[in-house]
């Protein structure tokens, strides 16, 4: 793995890590690391820095739904034009094209059940190339992006051992 990839690995794990620290750990100059990070930002490789919030600790009452969508692809653009249209709705947090029994999977967030239902029935389902939708409301998040949200026993190493 080259050093650029390693810098990215460090930053995906903790975007607040300092360039000096990365430099020390990868045997690089700090300025070299800074340049690489600047490059990632300029090239849209690093798109954004944001905090990961534990959903079990925040009671904002929001609801999330995973929505399976079957669409009719279009000659020339395939799935892209209809997908881009769906993705533009701010309610859609993520959108993926999948293989299998349906085509798109949208992750939609709203303030309550009614809001999400209204979005699906009025906005999503009425798009011309959308054939059908199946909505699954999310009940609990256990793990996301490699982070487990449930309380874990802290490992208790002795503080001094030979």
């Amino acid at each position: 793995m080259d050093k650029r990839q390693k810098i990215l690995d460090f930053m995906t794990r903790d975007s607040r890590i300092s360039a000096a620290q990365i430099a020390a750990m990868l045997d690089m100059d700090e300025s070299e690391v800074r340049r690489a990070i600047k490059g990632f930002e300029d090239d849209n490789v690093i798109v954004k820095y944001k905090a990961m919030v534990n959903p079990q600790k925040v009671e904002n009452g929001n609801v999330t739904a995973l929505i399976e969508i079957k669409v009719i692809p279009e000659r020339g653009t395939g799935f892209d034009s209809v997908s881009e249209r769906i993705a533009k709705f701010p309610e859609v947090k993520s959108l993926f094209l999948l293989s299998g029994t349906y085509d798109l999977l949208a992750i939609v967030e709203g303030r309550n059940l009614q809001e999400v239902s209204a979005f699906v029935s009025q906005k999503l389902a009425t798009i011309e190339r959308v054939q059908s939708t199946t909505t699954h409301f999310l009940l609990k998040k256990y793990k996301e992006d490699g982070i487990e949200f449930f309380e874990q026993d802290r490992t208790r190493r002795l503080q001094i051992t030979p």
Binding site: Q21, A24, L26, T155, R157, L158, Q159, I160, T161, P162
Partner: protein, 380 residues
């Protein structure tokens, strides 16, 4: 009570352990075990074994399946082919080491022990009524042992030498050249080698060469290894010894009476580790390597001279510039800045003037510890 046991001095680590346990907000660089939890697939393997009811004794030597996996691993990883029948699964390398001494030594035999070294080598030799003969390794040699120092220490009574590379507490490894010289000395003088290679996978800047990769050496040595460090499995307590048939059979005799067998769920976990654990092990190794560079750079920047250790997960900086003894330094550092380290002299007299800093700690902990040590030194 037994006079011999009573006469053994308490471990130099004990005092610090007691102090730390009374304190809050301590950042510890004093831990001699991985900060990773055992990889989940290994834990899951052990849980599965329990569910399936693998809760009885195994054969004294350990499960055949495990010994076969160990033989395969030793051959592939260390170029050290052993017959599974000449492998004994033990309760950690600690037990294996004790058995090796008890199988080899007669009263008044001499055992050469290079220091600084792991805390159990001397007391256990002493309990065998043998005489530990200590050689000090030096900072200017990056704590590598020199064959000429062994030559000097050898007498007619010398039975064995104990080596531990990569080394706890110094992080030193042996160069191929030094290793060949030492091997020649051992063979020429017909003494035994007990080689504790528990940290071998954690060798950075190059790869580990085992003494057991030489056919001639395999006839004169007991190879000790285990799962605790590389696979982050300390609590499972699984180690092993490999060696010539006669030695292993004597060790097995003691083991069968004192231990019967190593824990069964630990053995099951070890099988899983050897079959599927390499990828996660290499990931942990890479992280240690990065932290090694971070801590060594940090210590040198603070003014604590530290050579770049090539193995294990310890940095061994000199604190001589502060004018304090190792013990004073660690005690004051702990009291004033709440950073726990281990004084070098806990590992033998030649460790005086150094402290052991384990980098089996998170990056945050290492950074906080470095900041606090810097503050401590600046306020001196």
């Amino acid at each position: 009570m037994n006079e011999k046991v009573k006469a053994i001095p308490p471990s130099g680590i004990r005092k610090f352990f007691d102090m730390v346990s009374e304190m809050k907000d301590v950042v510890s660089l004093g831990v001699g075990e991985p900060d990773f939890v055992t990889p989940w697939h290994i834990r899951e393997g052990s849980i599965y074994a329990l569910e399936k009811g693998h809760t009885s004794y195994t054969s004294n030597k350990g499960m055949k399946e495990l010994r076969e996996e160990i033989a395969k691993y030793a051959a592939e990883t260390f170029n050290a082919p052993y017959d599974p029948n000449n492998i004994l699964v033990t309760v950690g390398v600690s037990e294996a080491f004790d058995l090796a001494l008890r199988a080899l030594l007669n009263p008044n035999d001499e055992v050469i022990i290079p220091e600084p070294c792991y805390v159990s080598y001397k007391p256990l030799s002493y309990l065998c009524n043998a005489k530990p003969v200590v050689i000090g390794t030096k900072e200017e040699d990056e704590f590598e042992l020199r064959a000429e120092d062994i030559e000097e220490a050898i007498t007619r009574k010398t039975k064995a030498i104990v080596l531990n590379y990569p080394n706890n507490p110094t992080g030193a490894t042996l160069s191929k050249k030094r290793m060949n010289e030492i091997a020649n000395t051992i063979l020429q003088n017909k003494i035994w080698l007990i080689s504790d290679e528990i940290y071998s996978e954690l060798t950075y800047d190059g790869s580990h060469t085992s003494f057991a990769s030489s056919e001639e050496m395999r006839k004169r040595m007991i190879f000790l290894h285990g799962f605790s460090k590389a696979f982050a499995m300390t609590g499972f307590r699984i180690g092993y010894a490999a060696g010539p048939e006669e030695t292993i059979s004597l060790m097995t005799k003691i083991h069968q009476y004192s231990m019967l067998c190593a824990p069964t769920m630990g053995q099951m976990a070890a099988i899983e580790a050897l079959r599927k654990g390499k990828e996660e092990m290499l990931k942990m190794k890479e992280e240690y390597d990065q932290r090694r560079k971070l801590i060594v750079k940090g210590l040198n920047k603070i003014g604590l001279n530290c050579f770049m250790p090539k193995g294990a997960f310890y940095a061994f900086p000199s604190i001589k510039s502060t004018g304090l003894s190792s013990e004073m330094f660690c005690e004051e550092l702990l009291k004033k800045e709440k950073v726990a380290t281990v004084p070098g002299n806990a590992f033998g007299r030649s460790g005086e003037g150094f402290i052991r800093c384990s980098y089996a700690a998170s990056i945050d902990e290492i950074n906080t510890a470095l900041e606090r040590i810097e503050k401590f030194i600046n306020n001196m």
